[in-house]
């Protein structure tokens, strides 16, 4: 007699906890061939609001951590992902209908990208910052700093690589994120959240919402306590309106990208959500 399987409940990830949507709503996540895979939480604007609160609370600690420390924490995630490759390969195979070798390649890519970004945490300041030779007796230095809370609409056509490619660079600099997962492919995102929850990433640094990007994105775009908006996966939404909403508080915005190169790893993705701070200090002995 075969064993009765234990299906997994996919919930939201907010402030290091896994709540259901406050609205009580769920939606059916279907596989590539239309079969039922799971119920995912259908987050509401209030969940988005709670996620921003959690992300804001986490900014101070995460941004204050040393680059070396953040690099290690991010690397640790890659280690954990490596140990759970099988789970992700299975989820991607079911969700995207790809072969297991293709799914495997995707998981490998996601892990490698995570490692690539982890390595930047203690280096991007050196590359993007600089000492400035001003014409006066002043010490003058420019350094990039995290911009704060970043809201992300993750790429919609990718389960894991797209999600990682959007989230990891924002974390490197010390931002915290509220990310709306792919609406159709949310399961890997939640599984990744489970990895994050057991890693050393402090609660609130990454907050994952599942559900309708079209419903939630406007609330995040117009939220005054969100500093930046990554619309990489918002190409199918009314993203121009989201940009207009974001302009109200002068948020930094990344435009939508499409295709396999969406959110290609780049230093620009890290530095784009930083602010350059220039510090002057007088310099003279007598």
């Amino acid at each position: 007699m075969s064993r009765l399987a234990v299906p997994k409940t996919y919930k939201l990830y907010i402030g290091g906890k896994f709540p259901r949507s406050e609205s009580g709503r769920v939606y059916e996540v279907l596989g590539a061939s239309g079969e039922f895979l799971a119920n995912a939480a259908k987050a509401s604007r209030k969940d988005a609001r709670d996620a921003v609160v959690a992300a804001r609370a986490a900014v101070s600690g995460w941004s204050k951590a040393t680059g070396y420390n953040r690099g290690q924490v991010l690397y640790r995630i890659a280690e954990l992902l490596e140990g759970r490759r099988a789970q992700f390969i299975e989820e991607i195979t079911l969700a995207e209908g790809v072969s297991s070798s293709e799914a495997e390649a995707q998981v490998d890519e996601a892990i490698d990208r995570w490692i690539w970004y982890a390595g930047w945490a203690d280096k991007y300041v050196q590359v993007a910052g600089n000492a400035n030779a001003v014409s006066g007796p002043y010490f003058n230095i420019s350094v990039p700093e995290p911009t704060g809370v970043v809201a992300i609409v993750a790429p919609q056509t990718s389960s894991l690589v797209g999600f990682v490619s959007a989230v990891a660079p924002a974390l490197v600099a010390g931002n915290t994120v509220v990310v709306i997962a792919s609406e159709a492919l949310p399961l890997s995102a939640i599984s990744l959240a489970e990895v994050l929850a057991t890693s050393d990433v402090p609660g609130g640094v990454v907050n994952v919402l599942t559900g309708s990007p079209a419903e939630m994105a406007p609330w995040l775009a117009s939220h005054a306590d969100v500093n930046a908006l990554d619309l990489v996966g918002a190409g199918e939404l009314d993203w121009v309106q989201l940009q207009i909403d974001a302009a109200e508080t002068l948020k930094r915005v990344f435009p939508p990208e499409s295709g396999p190169d969406a959110a290609t790893p780049s230093l620009a993705r890290i530095v784009g959500f930083t602010e350059t701070k220039t510090v002057w200090h007088t310099k003279s002995l007598i």
Partner: protein
Amino acid sequence: MTIDKVVSPASRATEVLGGELTESSLKRYLNGISGVDAVGLEARAADLGSRSIKTTSKAWALDRIISLIDLTTLEGADTPGKVRSLVAKGLTPDAADPTCPRVAAICVYGDMVPAAVEALGASHGLDEVSGGINVAAVATAFPSGRASLAVKLADTADAVAAGADEIDMVIDRGAFLSGRYGQVFDEIVAVKEACRRADGSYAHLKVILETGELNTYDNVRRASWLSILAGGDFIKTSTGKVAPAATLPVTLLMLEVVRDWNRLTGEKIGVKPAGGIRTSKDAIKYLVAVAETAGEEWLQPHLFRFGASSLLNDVLLQRQKLATGHYSGADYVTID
């Protein structure tokens, strides 16, 4: 010039320090004084130096500069003849213009005091005689100050006995830089006492910090407070024998101290930049700094002096230019 009220420096310092006067309480007090940001101080000095002083203000300034000069000769080669010549120049700076004011004082080495007093004759005494001139003597083993206290005190008393109205003493920079503030304090107090005349009045005491050797603005500020606490009537930048001598930022800093002292105690202390001020243009910058920092009332010989020699002739040339509308030449002013 004499001091009307005699307050014991030690009791005054005790009052300001708010406790017992000891080496360590003095050190604590001086180290607790707000620091100086060099860049900001120099920027402020440059800003004051960029004031544009024209026409009537300039005419007033030039005359005022002359009346604030301690006309100085401090050479090993000084003779009574040289001093007499200097006195004559101080009394009649511009032979062609009787309206030209006289300088404030003639500043010489102690052994030249009798020559200066004699040359001044009836014109001796800034306060005693209208149009009078004081005699200032450098003392305390000027310029290095490296002699025993006994010698320094004898040097001082000798000059005062010879008729010096003002004593320009040097502080012991070695003691100051090694943190022996109490020693510097005591020495100033002792020299002040040596300025006492038989009739109980005091010769005016200018305390030379030798800012070029103190090196940092923080030191200059502390030394200024220390000198005032110890009873100095004036604080003076330099001996003129060490470079850099007077600079505008250093003088501005000392003016800030006397302003703050005035705010604290109501007393007015004088400031004397000395050495390196050679042109009217530079001297006017100092007047601006005085007026905008300590206040305009400081622009009088009891509260501000220039220690200078060649400055006088440049001011005279500028005066002639203002009077005639033409540029003058070096042959139209006298060599003292």
